[in-house]
Amino acid sequence: MDTTRRLVPAILLLSFTPALGALAPTTVSVPVAGTVFGLPESVFFSGTALITVRPAESDAPGAAPRMVVSIDLGDLTGKGLSTGNVYVTGGLISLTRRLVPGDVIQATVPFFVRGASPTARGRTAVASFSFDYDITTGALTSARAALAAPAPAPAN
């Protein structure tokens, strides 16, 4: 990465009622807010992450279902604290995970000034999500979301 930045984590904890029926998909909205510090300017983000988890039962005896996870960050917008520029994030995170009682997902997302050229230099943030599942139904029972800085670039 070409910048070093500090992040103020924004942690939200929501609880949900387990979905009815075995292995039903769950869709929830998690509010996200926080300030990403760094160069060329710090950015305050707010909005919601729309999270959908869909269990896919395995036909192998004893194997945990796979979870098809989609996290839509398209609603998240940021405001540059120096310029007032509006920032947006790269829309959708799409992942395969195993069903476990508690899952921690860490994914990187790009963010950039709204309307900027696709080749304008974007920045990267790390979105972390902690999910708790009802292991019998695959339903999402609680979710926490946080923003964190990317790990330092690996040494050459």
Binding site: M1, D2, P25, T52, R54, P55, A56, E57, S58, D59, A60, A63, P65, R66, V68, S70, D72, G90, G91, L92, I93, S94, L95, T96, R97, R98, I105, Q106, A107, T108, V109, P110, F112, S117, P118, T119, R121, G122, R123, T124, V126, P150, A151, A153, P154, N156
Partner: protein, 731 residues
């Protein structure tokens, strides 16, 4: 699946014995000595198609070491280290004048007789057969051959592994190819420190590496003459791979006679002339007079030549590979895979031409079109070696095949030198069953510009690409100007497999880099070395609008169909050539889950119609990347909602990842060319084990669809039989 090298010797020996037993099964199947029905009768395979749980055979069998399943021993690496050898560019096929072809190509198959080699199965001394393996007669004649005669001839052979003898055209100077000396002989090795592959173990185009690349452009039909120079004796295959082949130009909008139909295979000693007209879809009804400058092709003087058709259908990145019925996985794995860049006015491969049409994507400037300096093909594939370092194929279960050796352009974890500027990478997943999920090691943004070779309506900025299923192509742009000269960054695979069903999980970049994954193909797979500043300023662009989708709003939907892909397939036919038995199947329009039979017509859309198809995953935790031949589609919804279609899937596609338990709807038009095509899972182990259907589009001037006769190839010639099944509702 793969055991670590530090397991006990006894444990590894047990695994090696089990794998040896499994490879005996592959060998017997590939050499035609037994069928899957025989395996069931012998008690080695269950009716569901899985290897029985016996120690010494199944990966899932209990071993002498308690609950640990019998895995596979790791491939020997002979102390080779990753990122210690350069990644070669693809080897560009020579573009010949058509008059070099002898015999000259013909509209109908050339049935000139030649003496057959009695080593071919079913051949006795003195018998003759046709020189060309294409089925004879008018149905398999090249459509529009007189209207669109070939202008370029490409001559290729399928051949056993050999040195390239210093014949290699990377399409760029050596400075753009990691300073590889293209005149030096390259032996067929997956790394200079690994053993040279035996002729029977690897069968590539021309028998050589690097993998091959065809350069084409719209309005310039190509005659691809493919010779089959594989051994006549099917036993000379190192235990896997079938010597009969059928070459599928993946995503080609051509007549079926050039599509590489699974049942139109040809034999050693024959050639097959594939006529790739390279037209824009809709050319018979849209912009017929070629007046739209956006529908154009680069000429040799820097200008444009208009072509008919809909410019919104412009395609860019194809590949071609074997499609031999029930042996695609083994043959493609063995080396029958190459790429095909198609250039157009929009995507001309020259970043400097500013004519108002050219998108000026990273490429280069020296030639009018098709510059490769900053436009790089990447073929990702996982491989496995036996204890001697020779390529081997294992069947595990019928969930798929995974290798433990990650290759890029058929080299084990190479490095690639780049300048501080933008590059385009055309990434092909050429694996058998493995999915990838790619990112840069420092999570820097990547711009995805194309999916399945089609430029997207709008570029998408990502730091982690979506999972990339088998046969999918993702074109991306990476801007290396953010890095200092002398620095390095790596392409990282985040998708972890435990089996061939689907990724077991997608890791974070940090997890993938940690080295803790049990999957040896997770983590760094390609090292980029930033070696210099560009000699001239980077004038390439990635504009906010690339190629908008065709407007289908005024085209009525003629009908809908549903295809469900799952296990438990049954067979209703018993033709010994066309019918196949396997665990997988396809359920059409709510009917039975049927095993593949290329003599069965499952769908027959009407010419010049539009349909909506639902592709449904039958469950079980599997993923299936479904490929539909000939016509591209557009995803309308995933799991019932248009909102679930991500930005990078909003363009045109030809491979559709269903995702575990998922379903999607697509819309397609059927036009321009006729014949029989296919739809199948591109986890080619699934495809080969009966997850394939035939559909067809018959343009014979009839007011209704008419099922075409099925070709039955033999060395002595191709005969035809009537379709042995036509599903109700297909027509």
């Amino acid at each position: 699946m793969y055991l670590k090298g530090n397991f006990s010797k006894a444990r590894l020996r047990e695994a090696a014995n089990a794998r040896c037993n499994r490879t005996e099964i592959v060998k017997a199947l590939s050499q035609g000595q037994i069928s899957r029905r025989d395996l069931i009768r012998m008690g080695l395979m269950s009716a569901a198609g899985t290897l029985v749980l016996t120690n010494g055979l199944s990966v899932f069998g209990k071993s002498a070491y308690g609950s640990i399943p019998t895995g596979a021993p790791p491939s020997p690496m002979f102390d080779v280290q990753p990122f210690s050898t350069p990644m070669p560019r693809f080897d560009v096929f020579k573009r010949n004048k058509v008059d070099v072809l002898d015999p000259a190509p013909t509209a109908e198959s050339n049935q000139t007789q030649r003496l057959l080699n009695p080593a071919l199965p079913g051949v006795t001394a003195g018998q003759t057969g046709p020189v060309e393996g294409r089925p004879p007669g008018p149905i398999w004649a090249h459509q529009d051959f007189a209207l669109r005669p070939p202008k370029v001839a490409i001559i290729a052979s399928q051949a056993t592994a050999q040195s390239n003898g210093g014949i290699y055209d990377p399409g760029v100077l050596s400075d753009f190819n990691c300073r590889i000396d293209s005149t030096a002989a390259i032996d067929l090795k997956f790394h200079p420190g690994l053993p040279t592959q035996n002729p029977a173990n690897v069968w590539t185009f021309n028998g050589t590496i690097p993998p091959k690349l065809v350069i084409g452009r719209y309005g310039e039909p190509i005659l691809f003459r493919h010779f089959n120079n594989l051994p006549c004796d099917p036993k000379e295959n190192a235990g896997f791979g079938r010597h009969t082949i059928s070459t599928h130009e993946h995503n080609g909008h051509h007549g079926a006679e050039n599509d590489g139909f699974t049942g139109a295979f040809f034999f050693p000693g024959q050639f097959y002339d594939y006529h790739w007209p390279i037209v824009l879809a809709g050319f018979r009804s849209i912009n017929k007079d070629a007046t739209d400058r956006m529908a154009s092709s680069p000429n040799d003087s820097g200008g444009l030549d208009n072509v008919p058709g809909d410019w919104h259908e412009t395609m860019s990145t194809h590949w071609f590979h074997d499609h031999m019925f029930s042996f695609t996985s083994q043959n493609v794995y063995k080396g029958n895979a190459a790429m095909f860049n198609i250039y157009s006015g929009l995507d001309r491969g020259n970043e400097a031409v500013a004519d108002g049409v050219n998108l000026r994507l990273p490429s280069g400037t020296a030639k009018s079109f098709g510059n490769l300096e900053y436009d790089v093909n990447l073929m990702l594939a996982d491989k496995a070696f036996d204890r001697d370092g020779q390529l081997m194929f294992d069947i595990f279960d019928f969930d798929g095949f995974l290798g433990d050796i990650m290759t890029v352009n058929l080299i084990f974890k190479p490095f690639f030198e780049v300048e501080r500027r933008k590059y385009r990478f055309r990434i092909l997943n050429a694996s058998v069953s493995r999915f990838f999920k790619l990112a840069l090691s420092d999570a820097s943004p990547i711009i995805q510009i194309a999916n399945d070779g089609n430029l997207l309506p709008n570029p998408v900025i990502l730091t982690e690409l979506d999972e990339q299923g088998i046969a999918e192509r993702y074109d991306i742009v990476i801007d290396f100007s953010r890095y200092a000269v002398g620095s390095k960054v790596w392409m990282v695979n985040l998708a972890e497999h435990e089996d061939g069903k689907a990724p077991s999980g997608d890791l974070s970049i940090a997890e993938a880099l940690s080295g803790k994954s049990s999957d040896p193909c997770v983590g760094k797979i390609l090292e980029f070395r930033i070696v210099r500043d560009p000699p001239t300023p980077d004038v390439s662009q990635v504009l906010p609008v690339l190629i908008p989708n065709p407007d289908l709003s005024k085209i009525p939907v003629a009908r809908t169909r549903t295809f469900e892909f799952g296990r438990g397939g049954t067979q209703t036919t018993n033709d010994p050539v066309t019918s196949f038995f396997g665990p997988w199947g396809v359920k059409t329009n709510g009917g039975d889950m049927l095993n593949a039979d290329f003599g069965r017509v499952s769908a027959a859309p009407g010419k010049d119609t539009r349909e909506i198809w639902t592709l449904r995953n039958g469950g079980g935790g599997w993923d299936h990347p479904i490929h539909i031949h000939f016509e591209e589609g557009r995803i309308l919804s995933r799991d019932g909602s248009a909102r679930n279609v991500p930005a990078w899937e909003k363009g045109r596609k030809d491979v559709y990842r269903l995702r575990p338990g998922g379903e999607l709807t697509i819309t397609m038009q059927f036009r321009d060319w006729g014949g029989m095509f296919m739809e199948h899972c591109h986890n080619t182990v699934h495809e080969d084990n009966a997850m394939l259907i035939r559909w067809e589009l018959d343009d014979r001037g009839e007011p209704f669809m008419r099922p075409l006769p099925t070709p039955i190839p033999t060395p002595q010639g191709v005969t035809f039989v009537a379709p042995d099944d036509i599903l109700r509702g297909a027509l």
